[in-house]
Symmetry: D2
Subunit: 286 residues, 4 copies
């Protein structure tokens, strides 16, 4: 919520030890930086310290040099650290299939300047959204996927991500499972939206499962994709009330509103460097 | 929301057929009854008709005779029907263990006249709540349960339920699993509160499971107990938002508020004859 | 949730009297109709009966004749009644200004077939959304409004609504107040979205008001427009949690999501003939 | 969420200036303290800095001396500061009238160790809750209030608060307005629960007002009492969905659940030194 031109954001975590808050704040202050936000969390059970700290570097300093210096400093403290500049707009690719609700929602939010990023490509295993993508002025890449061609298709996807220097993939109801090899090779975060309240109703056709079980709430879950399908670190979840009057079609429609809101929130937090992953969980500094 | 002295409530379901709404309403009207509420639902996939209908019988009629006559009429339509009088206060037994939050909540709501029932006994496998029960003027029965004595303990519980003519059992965080034999022999509905958003985190220690998985919402589920643990028809569910800052202890505390609200709502609906069970699901006419 | 080709929906209200449920159901049944849904409500304080009843007329009957016959029948019962056919798609005009979030949301839902209507025109006092409207293939009419030209502008709007046979106006963040004369002359329902939890923060700049007061929740309210600004019958409301960390700009962004959801729900209910207005309140048969 | 025996909590606010985070953290670290939590907020519009910082002082230090030293240090920074020790259990008085739901809820939570305080007295202008209070082992003081005796009654209340060294008053549905003189003379915070979503439906009979207006959500608001009735700084608010089917009595019942939850949350936050008041708003460090 700062409107400053450029600030730096560090996400740290590592073994807890006394004085960490004072040390990071002191380091920034000593170099002429002004701390805008600093949030800490301690996992008392596992003795891990987590911090998100955002600061304006001294006008005299080079942001890139400050980022490097902070990483080095964090290493001395024994912390894992990522540092980003709010002046950098991440390059994002959306993967879609036929469903268009998350696609339109993300693109319209981006056009309304909710997301500080560049959407550099739409990738799809189908052609249904080609025209809509081009209507938004976005490049659309059709890469069909079948059981036989999956490896080759993923190779093309990877090539494209690299050529476009993509830094974040968002699966906006992309109905193919990305292989563990793809995820490892891409080396970038992938955010997925699952249309249930995980871990309930993992796997396929979750609204059908929910209807069969007679639950009174349906949900949606945004998570980082990992090699274990539907098991990655959860970023955001929400639910909506349903009744016996709702058919599976009704659940699908109501669920699509949840999916839009939950995925958009996860993307917004990720792009604001508010999500820190450790193990199979996230710390969200909201 | 009627304030009439006595009305009758029928819950019907059976194969759908044209004219059912007109037939039930016509039957009541022809006998001088006044319909207060009538809610229908059609399961279009399975072609089942569900109805809750509440009416004031003619002042000249005997309520008991009207109830019998309606059951017979429903049978002719091919419908399953239960009929209850709002003048009857169900006899309820609470099963508790050591945790007292649902116990206090239910009893205080009952004393505040939220529940049209009589709480006729508190049964517990522990003694921690004996004094509190007696402070409320309620009979407390201590029936310890161990692996070895479970069958005998259930026999004593059954005997007590029969002697007290109990019509509903509420498991207010009772930490023993009731056997399939007990449920079959008792022949009365048993409402349980599970401290998770079922089907997520079925089984033991759900808050520990939720914490380990890193979910962003925790839940509670009230359901009818069946021989398949945590698989019975769901009556009500709700969730609350949690973050990485919440320890397992925090989840337990926040969850206890959910458990109270969800269980109380389920009991309130059951006692108002608003819950119709079919297969493994419920239709809640709220 | 019926998938029948055509059904009829009646909304009734009038003085309560015994036998109304039986009479309406009996009338439909006697003419060979099949009741799909029937919901009743009694306002016990004011002794008013409300009903929404949906049925498939006999295949042999003319729907138009059935609608006329039902209206006549309802009149005999002393009831106000509107009757609609689900085969008719209402003609809708959207009024917009510069903000585009509700506009995109409604149009995309319409294109996704959530709304059984025809959007026949976009009217705006500005030109910002002209291109987007045309991109969707929608007619855009620019009718500027100033204090001096307001009466003339409203005359042009009315003329257009009549020429296009518009049956519902939706104010999708249209930032002009419609005059009492306009509302009376148009003779059709007008749904507005107010960006606060009415009656809190009526009037202008509600997010600024909310921020100043330090509320912990912000809201949005969809209501029928009446001559008393922000005082019309409320159809739907919802809220979202905010904190001291949220600036007015943040409230605006979070509020825009609420506005979309609340307005879409109100329009969906209206088009499904689920909203019955009486006095300054609504009965929503959801 | 720390389980340490004693920590200190400071709430600071004052004119923003560079280096404040580093200075407070550095001061604590230099004296051998270990920071457990530190949350900051900047009001960018008014250039005010807010902080809640919690730390374990050095084992060698006297907590009282550390608290004094911190206050002095904060003064040098130009900050307003309060400092509390988590080892101190605040002395709390509950004011009640006839309604008992908030009373039972607060006392049961306190007995379940949710609130780190001592409830030292129940004050009431009625006698209905005398027996319940004594059943909990709490002192009950009956101080009747009429228009004529109000000044004298408030004098007695003040005297009692002083004699019992009360540090927080909670109005648990106390149905008398405390005078501005009383609030000024008591010199301690007073938390009130208002049974509406303020600022909607301020004043008396808010559920009747809500019913008349036909709102779709009802609310409850916990706030600090100030001389301007219903205008004090809001601590917490929540809402519940209602429909046309709910009578005023139903709103009262549903509202009482909201009131319990909202008031309990406000008291919990206050006792954990998480609420900082400035002007007519609060910053809640949750």
């Amino acid at each position: 919520m700062s409107h400053s031109p450029v600030s730096l954001v560090a996400l740290l975590h590592g073994p807890d030890q006394p004085g960490l808050v004072a040390k990071t704040a002191g380091w920034i202050f000593a170099r002429g930086g002004n701390i805008l936000h600093a949030d800490q969390h301690r996992d008392l059970e596992e003795s891990i310290f987590f911090q998100r700290i955002e600061w304006e570097p001294s006008a005299a300093a080079s942001p890139v040099a400050e980022m490097d210096a902070f990483r080095e400093f964090a290493g001395v403290l024994g912390m894992n650290a990522t540092v980003a500049s709010t002046g950098h707009r991440a390059r994002v690719a959306l993967f879609v299939s036929k469903a268009d609700h998350c696609f339109h929602d993300l693109v319209l939010r981006w056009k309304a300047r909710e997301f500080p990023c560049e959407i550099v490509a739409i990738l799809s295993n189908h052609t249904e959204l080609a025209e809509a993508a081009r209507g938004y002025g976005l490049d659309f890449h059709h890469i069909p996927v079948t059981a036989d061609t999956k490896a080759a298709a993923e190779a093309r996807q990877l090539e494209l991500l690299r050529a476009l220097r993509v830094e974040l993939v968002v699966l906006a109801r992309y109905m193919q499972v990305l292989s563990a090899d793809f995820l490892a090779a891409s080396g970038i975060p992938v955010i997925n939206i699952h249309h249930s309240f995980l871990p309930a109703f993992a796997g396929g056709k979750p609204y059908h499962q929910a209807h069969r079980r007679g639950v009174k709430l349906i949900g949606a879950t945004a998570h980082y994709a990992t090699r274990d399908l539907d098991e990655g670190p959860i970023i955001q979840q929400d639910v909506a009330r349903v009744t016996h009057r709702h058919s599976v079609d009704d659940l699908v429609r109501r669920g699509s509103d949840l999916e839009k809101m939950v995925l958009a929130q996860a993307v917004r937090w990720h792009l604001a460097h508010r999500v820190l992953v450790y193990g199979n969980k996230t710390v969200v500094f909201d």
